[in-house]
Symmetry: C2
C-alpha cells in the first residue's frame, strides 16, 4: 500500500507518518520509484504500536525509540523486554529520590525489584504527597496495598503472556498498563461501596 493508504488503515495522518519515518520510529517502505514506497502489514502494526505508546501511553519519542530498540534486539529475555517497556512509561515523580520508607517496604516485602527503578521513585513521591495531604500511610497499610497490587500485576502479566509475539507482549504491557489504570481507579470506588455496604 502507499503512504496515503497506510494513513487510512491506521487513522494516522500522512504528515505524522512522515514524522515517524524521519525520527526512525517507522521503518522505510520498499521504494518503488524515486518518490514512492510500498508499505505492508508490518508497517500498519508498527504505526499502531507507536501511536498507542505516544497517545495512550504518553511516552516521549526517546522512550518510543528505546522500546523499539528493545524489540529489535533478540537476546533480551521477555522479562527484560517488559522492563524496557515499563521504564519507557512516564509516571509522575519518577525522577525524584527514593525514600527510606519505600526502600524499607520493598525489603520487607522481599520483592526482587530494582531499588532505583522509575516506579520506585514515583511510589516515593506519591506516598510523600499523600502524607502532606493528611493521609499518613503507615508501613502496615502500604504493605497491604502492595499485596493487593500483586494480584493486579499477576493479571497484567497473564494478559501479556497470552500474546504470541514479544512485540505484542510489550504492546499489551505498555498500553495495558496505561489504559487499565482508569479501570482500576473506577473499580476501587465501586469496591469501596461494596465493602462498605457489606460492613453496614
Amino acid at each position: 500500500m502507499r503512504i496515503s493508504e497506510l494513513a487510512q488503515a491506521t487513522g494516522v495522518p500522512v504528515h505524522t507518518l512522515k514524522y515517524y519515518l524521519r525520527e526512525g520510529l517507522l521503518m522505510p517502505g520498499e521504494a518503488t520509484s524515486r518518490t514512492r514506497a510500498e508499505y505492508g502489514t508490518e508497517h500498519v502494526e508498527r504505526v499502531r504500536l507507536v501511536r498507542a505508546l505516544v497517545e495512550h501511553g504518553g511516552v516521549g519519542i526517546a522512550g518510543v525509540r528505546s522500546v523499539l530498540e528493545a524489540l529489535a534486539a533478540p537476546p533480551l529475555s521477555r522479562h527484560d523486554l517488559l522492563g524496557v517497556a515499563a521504564c519507557a512509561l512516564p509516571t509522575p515523580g519518577d525522577d525524584g529520590p527514593v525514600s527510606d520508607e519505600v526502600t524499607a517496604l520493598l525489603s520487607d516485602l522481599g520483592w526482587p525489584v530494582s531499588r532505583q527503578a522509575p516506579a520506585v521513585r514515583a511510589l516515593s513521591a506519591a506516598v510523600a504527597a499523600a502524607r502532606e495531604a493528611g493521609v499518613p500511610l503507615p508501613a502496615s497499610t502500604l504493605r497491604r496495598y502492595a499485596q493487593a497490587m500483586i494480584g493486579v500485576a499477576a493479571v497484567d502479566l497473564d494478559e501479556a503472556s497470552t500474546t504470541r509475539t514479544p512485540a505484542a507482549a510489550v504492546h499489551m504491557v505498555v498500553v495495558g498498563t496505561v489504559m487499565v489504570d482508569p479501570v482500576l481507579v473506577a473499580l476501587r470506588r465501586v469496591a469501596q461501596e461494596a465493602v462498605s455496604a457489606e460492613r453496614g
Copy 2:
C-alpha cells in the same frame, strides 16, 4: 483567633476564606464587633476539609456542599456518609452510560452496589476506552481485577474506620481515595516488575 490567624493556621489566604464564608462552606465565626469575628479549632478543621476536597479531590463547590450537608445531618449511617463522599468525587466518564458488560460483571460478582453509581459509569467508560486502544478486557479478566481491588477497598475502609469522627472518616475516604490512587498506580508498576522477575 481572627480571620488573618485562621489564614495563617491553615495556609489558605483570607480572600479564599471569605469566599468559603460567602458560599456557606465555612460556618461564620462568633462576632466580636461589627467587623470582627472570632474563629476556633472547628473552623481550622473545616477549612482543611474544604481545601482537601477542592484541591486534592478536585471536588466542585456543589460537591463540597453535599459532603458538608451529609456531615451536618446526623441520621445518616456511616455507609451513607461514605456514599455521599464518594459521589462528590468526580471521576472521568462518570456521567456516561452504564454498559451491559459492567452490569453483567457486577451481577456476576454479587456486589451490593447501586447499578447507576457514578463509579459504575466511570468503569463502563474506562473499559470501553481500553478496548478502543487495543486492550480487550474479557469478563474473566475484569473479574480478577475486581477481586484484587476488593483487597484495596478493604484497606481503604479499615483506614477510614480508624478515625474517631464521621467528619474524619469522610476526610479519609475522600482525600485518601484521591491521594492513594497515584500510590496504587506506582505500586502496580513495581509489582509488575516483581511478578515478572519471579516468573523469569
